[in-house]
Amino acid sequence: MRRHRRPPEPAADPTSPGPSSALGDPFAAGLERLARAFALAGGLLLAGVVVMTVASVLGRYIFGVPIPGDYELTELACGIAVFAFFPHCHVTRGNVVVDFFTSRLSPRHRSALDALHGIAFTIMAGLVAWRLLVGAMRKLEDGETTLFLGIPIHAAYFAALIAAGLLAVVCVPVVHRHLRAVRR
């Protein structure tokens, strides 16, 4: 499995024991690859925003016409991209953990805490995904659209929902990984 880790890890806890072992079974490894693909797609979307914004700024100053609705495109694209980033961030242990008070605990105890927090994370991710679905359905009923281009808001919600769903799903092997570490 490819990793893109460099020695410094923004936000990773400083005393964590190096790169994690693979999630294990092929199902988990597949999820990990999927999360990576989502992150890459989100990154390309972000790069698209860069190109669009540059074109819009140049258009505004050289030809006097910006790209219409560039702000709302940026807003929606960034929102979708950020949701697409979450699963990859979670499976690569990118989330901020304060390790100061627990660094003296045994690895097993720490893994036990991590497993508990992993369950809380799963509940959070599930809740967010569920309510995003409800929110998306409401936006669909309302028919709310963006101001200039008339892009239906629910489209962005559904796109984010797919990523939020993946986040909730990848939570499961992450918890499993911590539980395995407890048993070891």
């Binding site: 893109h4 460099r6 020695p7 410094p8 890890e9 923004p10 936000a11 400083p14 992150a39 890459l40 989100g42 990154g43 972000l46 790069a47 925003v49 860069v50 190109v51 914004t53 540059v54 700024v57 940026t74 929606l76 960034c78 929102g79 979708i80 991209a81 950020v82 949701f83 697409a84 980033f85 979450f86 990859h88 961030c89 979670h90 990118g94 989330n95 901020v96 953990v97 304060v98 390790d99 100061f100 008070f101 627990t102 720490r110 805490l113 927090h117 809380a120 994370f121 509940i123 959070m124 809740l127 967010v128 309510r131 995003l132 409800v134 929110g135 409401r138 962005a156 984010a160 939020a164």
Partner: protein
């Protein structure tokens, strides 16, 4: 139990969970959610969740964060750190402690295109650390310089943490960037002074490197023009109102990407690695933002900020004492907590209190001043034990460095940081005048 007491209790629970290594975002989300639901009802909480997470993440102002992160990532892969370090070394490398000074110069330059302290420290370290060690620099001086130099990444605009502060306090990103610029320059000079003192006391810590011919020096310095041009265009563009901060970030990212492309370093592999690293850091920041959104919705219900402001107002303490007290809380929290989480947890509580203080400045001036001071305290927290993230990052890159040695190396730079904080406290104009020219 009143709502305010309940709020204070849950605030403590949240800190406790964070201390028990619950991911910061989850702790804020869970505690905020339980608190909000018990005050306003579960259905209100579920309704909040329909739109709050996506609404928080899909914001034009906040889109500046991933864009600046992408710009920093591309700068890292474009090898700009090497160019900057070489240019600074060509100027000062032949003096005693010169490589350390060159490292600070390189960090300042890199900080001008990168909004993160850790990324600046780590990127410069990969270039400057081997050079300094080869030249016989002591581990303490080398690691201390890099850890401290990294903090210039958040003092020099663009600065991710300042963007977040600006968004949650509804201040102008451009003004805050400008406000941090002069303190950033002072910090840089302070670091150079700290290095000078170190090598005066202990000449063996930073021996002089051989001098370069003049033509060579000129050539090295000439190579950094793209960085200078991009920084001036990005920050100048925001300053003059040519474009919004988001547009500036996009222009900067595109320009750095172009530099990387021309230098032949940007292939699909490096590009996708930049995207994935951007994704990871962005995900980390925005998940905390979602947690903070829920937590703040709860805090607003408890009216803790108002209660705190009234309580302290009635206590008869001098405003400056209250301000000092808050900064002290930040210093302590900054030593054990993640900087972003600290800002997001405390600013909603402290900000109304601080801007309400009668310090002889307008509310906006206090907001800018307080933001820059909070930034400097965060910066100090990044290089102090026990969890100075920069120090850990540098230390992990060279096996011959011992952690204690690295932390000892940051001490002179800490003094410089405290001095800067004192200057700012006494003369707020240091950060205000440039911001008010805008």
């Amino acid at each position: 139990m009143t709502d305010t007491e309940f709020g204070a209790l849950l605030f403590g629970v949240c800190l406790l969970l964070i201390g028990l290594r619950m991911p910061v975002a989850v702790a804020m989300f869970v505690v905020g959610g339980v608190g909000f639901a018990s005050l306003a009802g579960w259905s209100a909480f579920l309704n909040l969740l329909n739109t709050a997470p996506f609404g928080r993440v899909s914001s034009y102002t906040l889109s500046v964060v991933p864009l600046f992160l992408l710009m920093g990532q591309l700068a890292t892969r474009a090898g700009l750190s090497r160019l900057l370090f070489d240019a600074a070394r060509a100027c000062v490398g032949h003096r005693r402690g010169g490589l350390a000074v060159a490292t600070i110069g390189g960090c300042a330059g890199f900080g001008a295109v990168c909004g993160s302290s850790l990324a600046t420290a780590a990127t410069m370290a990969s270039v400057a650390l081997p050079e300094m060690r080869r030249q016989g620099y002591s581990g303490a001086l080398a690691a201390g310089t890099l850890a401290a130099g990294g903090t210039l990444g958040i003092l020099f605009p663009p600065s991710i943490i300042l963007v977040i502060y600006a968004v949650i306090t509804e201040q102008s990103i451009g003004k805050l960037f400008l406000a941090a610029l002069v303190p950033g320059v002072i910090a840089m000079l302070g670091y150079v002074a700290a290095i000078t003192v170190c090598v005066r006391i202990n000449p063996g810590a930073g021996p002089a490197a051989p001098s370069l011919p003049f033509a060579e020096r000129l050539r090295s310095v000439g190579k950094v023009w793209p960085v200078v041009a991009i920084f001036v265009a990005v920050i100048g563009g925001i300053y003059l109102g040519v474009f919004t901060p988001t547009e500036a970030a996009a222009m900067g990212a595109a320009a750095i990407g172009l530099v990387a492309l021309v230098s032949g370093r940007l292939r699909w592999r490096t590009f996708s690695a930049s995207l994935l690293d951007t994704a990871r850091t962005t995900g980390m920041i925005f998940l905390i933002l979602i947690g903070a959104e829920i937590f703040n919705a709860f805090l607003a219900l408890t009216q803790i900020p108002t209660a705190l402001a009234e309580g302290l107002g009635a206590s008869g303490l001098a405003p400056i004492v209250i301000l000092l007290g808050i900064l002290l809380v930040y210093l302590v929290l900054g030593c054990v907590m993640d900087s972003l989480a600290m800002i997001l947890l405390t600013v909603p509580v402290f900000f109304p209190l601080v801007t309400g203080l009668d310090l002889g400045y307008t509310e906006e001036e206090i907001a800018i001043w307080f933001g820059v001071m909070a930034l400097i305290v965060v910066e100090i927290g990044l290089i102090t034990p026990p969890i100075g993230l920069n120090v850990y990052a540098i230390n992990a890159m060279d096996r011959s460095l011992r952690l204690g040695e690295s932390f000892r190396g940051t001490v002179p730079f800490l003094w410089s940081g405290f001095l800067l904080l004192a200057i700012l406290l006494m003369v707020p104009e240091v950060c205000l005048w440039l911001a008010e020219l805008a």
